[in-house]
Each structure stands twice: as structure tokens, then as C-alpha cells.
């Protein structure tokens, strides 16, 4: 029985190590295949640079600080825009829950508006806000706010009614009901929605950084790569985007998710 406990302990801690091993394995396999394809030379090397070439490019971009500054600027814009989108989208989403008629109408509208590509928002952004950082923020917000809205609305509406009834019965209403019941009850689903909204914000931001040029940001570096047909620079930026995505997911979304899942006992799936 001692053994069993020890083993169970081990199992609890297992994920962290195997998990990192998995990630590394995946990446190694990917780079391996890439190197192989480069070696065989099915694709012209201008379009498919070798890993070494890309690393060199990354080094260059870091040295001339366009990558580092780019990441900094882009992250700042992303966080600012996303925070606002979460604030606004969340608030409207909650209002939609509160007022059913508005909710139903707005919910389809949001899907319609969510399908607007960022390129469609850019002209309005330039017109209404201007050709500057705030214009970029506007595009980011417009592209992700409807995603936040739909997930907030949908997630809360999917909360089992019994929780809401119980809370109301215990005197919760208005803000307290929202804060202490609707939102926590919707959290497992909200995390999924927020992940998607985050990606919408990214897409829009890169698009906006290309169209509203401010000379800084990953979108700009990507754009320059494309303009100069420098494939290794494009790949370098993609790697940066991917790495940021992975890190943010690991450090924020996944942590949050694991915590919530543990509380809810959803990890029983694993057994």
C-alpha cells in the first residue's frame, strides 16, 4: 500500500516532466523533418530555407533589435487591445445574458461582425481614429471583441440553470450573481472562448501592423520579410509568434485551466 501511495504521488507529478519532454520531442521531430526536406531539396531553397539559415536570421533580427523591439511593441498592443476587448466584450456579453431580446439579436450580429476580416476594419480605423497606434488598437479590439462577446454570452447561457437558481435563492442577484456564480460556473467554457479571442486579436494585430505601418512590431517585421521575399525572415516571425502563443498558453491559459479542472474534478477523465 505504501508503494501504491508512492506511485499515485508520482502520477500526480508526472505531467510536468513528460509534458515538457513531449513538447521538446514534437519540436525536435519538426525541425528534423524540416532539415530533411531542405536537404533533399524538393523545394527551392529561396522558399524553404534551412533551419540554420532561419536561426541566422533570428540572430540578425535580435541583434539589430527589430525582433526584440517588435515583440515588445506587439505584445504591448496585443495586451492593451485584448484587455479592452475582454472588458467591452465581457460587459456586452453579460448585458446580452441579462436582456434576452437584445442577447438573441446581438448574438447573430456578433457572429456577422466577427466574420469581418481586419482588412475591412482598417479603412474605418483610419477614418475614425487615425493612422497610428490607436488605429491599430481599434482594429485589434474590433476583431476580438465580438469573439469575447459570443463566448461570454454562450458560456454563461450554458451554465446549468440549477446553479443560478440556487444562488438566486440564497439572495444573490445582479452583480453578485454574476461575479460569484455565472462567471465561475462558466469558467471552463470561458477559458476556451478566451483562447480563441486571443487568437483573433493576434490575427487582427498582425494584419493591422501591416496595413497601418508604424515601423515597429512583429507584423511589420513579417511584412518586411514578405515585401523583400525574405522567407527566412517570415519563418523567423512565425517562430516568434508560435513561441509567444505557446508560452502564453502554458503560462496563462493552461495553468488557469488545470486549476479550474482540478477543482471541478474534470480531471477524472484522465483516469
Amino acid at each position: 500500500m505504501q508503494k501504491a501511495i508512492l506511485e499515485a504521488r508520482k502520477q500526480e507529478y508526472r505531467p510536468d516532466t513528460t509534458d515538457i519532454a513531449n513538447v521538446v520531442l514534437f519540436l525536435a521531430a519538426f525541425v528534423g523533418i524540416w532539415q530533411l526536406v531542405s536537404n533533399i531539396g524538393i523545394f527551392p531553397s529561396v522558399l524553404m530555407p534551412t533551419p540554420a539559415k532561419v536561426i541566422e536570421t533570428i540572430a540578425r533580427l535580435v541583434t539589430d533589435s527589430s525582433m526584440t523591439v517588435g515583440i515588445g511593441v506587439t505584445m504591448w498592443r496585443l495586451l492593451a487591445g485584448f484587455a479592452m476587448a475582454v472588458g467591452i466584450g465581457g460587459a456586452v456579453g453579460l448585458t446580452m445574458v441579462k436582456f434576452q431580446g437584445f442577447g438573441k439579436t446581438m448574438s447573430s450580429f456578433a457572429v456577422g461582425l466577427l466574420t469581418f476580416p481586419s482588412i475591412a476594419w482598417v479603412p474605418f480605423s483610419i477614418l475614425l481614429i487615425g493612422f497610428n497606434d490607436f488605429g491599430i488598437l481599434f482594429v485589434v479590439i474590433m476583431a476580438s471583441v465580438f469573439s469575447v462577446m459570443t463566448s461570454t454570452y454562450g458560456s454563461i447561457r450554458n451554465v446549468p440553470p440549477i446553479y443560478i437558481r440556487a444562488a438566486k435563492n440564497m439572495g444573490a442577484s445582479g452583480f453578485a450573481l454574476l461575479r460569484y456564480v455565472m462567471i465561475p460556473a462558466a469558467t471552463p467554457s470561458l477559458i476556451m472562448g478566451i483562447r480563441q479571442a486571443w487568437s483573433f486579436a493576434w490575427h487582427a494585430l498582425i494584419g493591422a501592423e501591416i496595413l497601418i505601418t508604424t515601423l515597429y512590431g512583429l507584423g511589420h517585421v513579417l511584412h518586411v520579410g514578405r515585401e523583400f521575399n525574405d522567407m527566412s525572415q517570415i519563418i523567423a516571425v512565425m517562430i516568434a509568434i508560435f513561441a509567444i502563443g505557446l508560452l502564453v498558453d502554458r503560462l496563462v491559459f493552461m495553468r488557469l485551466e488545470e486549476k479550474v479542472r482540478a477543482r471541478w474534478g474534470l480531471n477524472q477523465h484522465n483516469e
Binding site: M170, G171, P184
Partner: protein, 271 residues
């Protein structure tokens, strides 16, 4: 034992007049019909009364409780309750739901504290009240556990503690002890009677256990699917807990059983 008087004595705290309730009977591949559960039901409850409600499965006991709690609106009829001024800010009519309505994102303690938090009770006091009631239901050891870690009976006890902690004017209990073993149940019977006596709370207690009904109730109400309302009321004017083996209580018990038998046959013959 006495038939209920036309003019019910005492300080009426709760009055239902001509309450009717139907549900849409949404079925797969068929037109929606409506399914009547309560039909012009009248009920008056005296302040401090302990009313037990019995009836065959599906006769509308939970529905009645939900309507009294204000969670469901009746199709027609009125419900009026006397407000207690002492009890400001706190929930007045608290339900212990038949099916666990515990919040999976909170620990046992936090679940029990929930209503108190909503009512704005300061943290220290909250902690104290919660731990008292958790002790009462013998779950001190599990105070920090999450809901999925509890057994069926343990969940039910948390729900009891949660409702009692709120100290409501009217306590609506929907088969609260159904999942508990005899011992626990007996202890909780005692404690409930104790609380009832010392606080003068009004209690409506649904149970399918006739013994429990006659043991605890000042008055027993028999709901019937036949009449879609109260078919029989029996007031028990003896000191509590009522001795189930005494001839008077036994007689009431038998009478109720007969009534139930009748309803049951009716239900069988009207599928």
C-alpha cells in the same frame, strides 16, 4: 390528531391562493402539450410551523417548493409571504434542493459561506458560522474539499449546512435526508427540531419517508397527482419528536399510507 380548521389559527406567514402550474410537455417528434401539476392549490402556513409534505413521485412537491421560494412563477394564483424585518439583506426563503445544487468551483467551506458572503456578513463571522454548521453535519475533516470529492450523503449534508447557515425565516427542504444513513439522519432530525424550537423558523419539509413526515411535522400535507393539489392535511398536536410507535402516530401513519396507496393506484390506471 385533528382535521384542519377552516380558519387556520395563528400568525400566517405564507399564503398561497389558487395557485396553478403547468409545464410544457416538450416531446421528441410531437406537438407540445401542457401537463398540469398544480391546480388551484390553497395553502396557509403559520409562523413557526413545521409542515411536512408527502406525495407520490412526480406529484409536484418540488414544484410547489420552487413556487414558494419564488424560483418558478405559477401560471395563475398568488403567493404572499410576510416579510421579517430583522432579516434584512439575507435570503428569506431558502431551499435545500432535491438534487445537489452545490457549486463545484467552491470548497465545502466556501459553499457554506456563499449565502453569507452575498449577504455581506464580515469574513470572520462568516468563517465561524460556516465552521459551526460544517461541524454539525460532521464534515469538519472535509471543509477544504471540493464537491466532486464528496460522497452522495456528504453532498447532501453540505447543502443542509449551507441553507441553515443562512438562518432564513422560512426553510424549504426538498428530501434533504434522502441520501443519509439512519444514524446521521437521526442526529440531524434532532438538530433540526432543536433549531426549529430555538429559532421559531417556519419549515416546509418534503419527504417520501412517511415516518419522517409524522415524526417531524406539526402538520402533514398530502399532495396528490389525482387532485393536483392538497388531498389531505393532518395536524399532529403532540410534543415532538413524535413517537412513531405510539398508537396515535401509528394511526396517522396508516391513514397516510392508505391515501398514498390510492393515489398510486390512480396514477397506475392513468398512465
Amino acid at each position: 390528531m385533528a382535521q384542519i380548521e377552516q380558519e387556520y389559527q395563528g400568525n400566517v406567514i405564507l399564503e398561497l391562493k389558487e395557485v396553478s402550474k403547468t409545464f410544457p410537455q416538450v416531446e421528441k417528434n410531437s406537438d407540445p402539450r401542457r401537463h398540469g401539476v398544480l391546480d388551484r392549490l390553497n395553502l396557509r402556513v403559520r409562523e413557526g410551523e413545521f409542515v411536512t409534505i408527502v406525495g407520490t413521485s412526480g406529484c409536484g412537491k418540488s414544484t410547489l417548493l420552487n413556487i414558494i421560494a419564488g424560483l418558478d412563477a405559477p401560471d395563475s394564483g398568488s403567493i404572499s409571504a410576510k416579510r421579517d424585518n430583522k432579516n434584512t439583506g439575507k435570503a428569506e426563503r431558502v431551499v435545500i434542493f432535491q438534487e445537489g445544487a452545490l457549486f463545484p468551483w467552491l470548497t465545502v467551506t466556501d459553499n457554506v459561506e456563499f449565502g453569507l458572503k452575498i449577504a455581506g456578513i464580515p469574513k470572520e463571522l462568516r468563517k465561524e458560522i460556516a465552521s459551526n454548521f460544517i461541524e454539525m453535519v460532521s464534515l469538519t475533516r472535509f471543509a477544504g474539499s471540493y464537491v466532486y470529492q464528496l460522497s452522495g450523503g456528504m453532498k447532501q449534508r453540505v447543502a443542509i449546512a449551507r441553507a441553515l447557515a443562512l438562518d432564513p425565516q422560512i426553510l424549504l427542504m426538498d428530501e434533504p435526508f434522502a441520501a443519509l444513513d439512519v444514524q446521521t439522519r437521526e442526529i440531524l432530525h434532532e438538530q433540526l427540531l432543536q433549531i426549529h424550537k430555538s429559532t421559531g423558523k417556519t419549515i416546509l419539509f418534503v419527504t417520501h419517508n412517511i415516518n419522517e413526515a409524522v415524526q417531524l411535522g406539526d402538520r402533514i400535507i398530502l399532495l396528490s397527482p389525482h387532485t393536483r393539489g392538497i388531498k389531505r392535511e393532518i395536524v399532529i398536536d403532540y410534543p415532538k419528536p413524535h413517537d412513531i410507535d405510539s398508537p396515535e402516530i401509528s394511526a396517522i401513519r396508516r391513514e397516510l399510507l392508505n391515501e398514498l396507496q390510492e393515489d398510486f393506484k390512480f396514477a397506475k390506471s392513468h398512465p
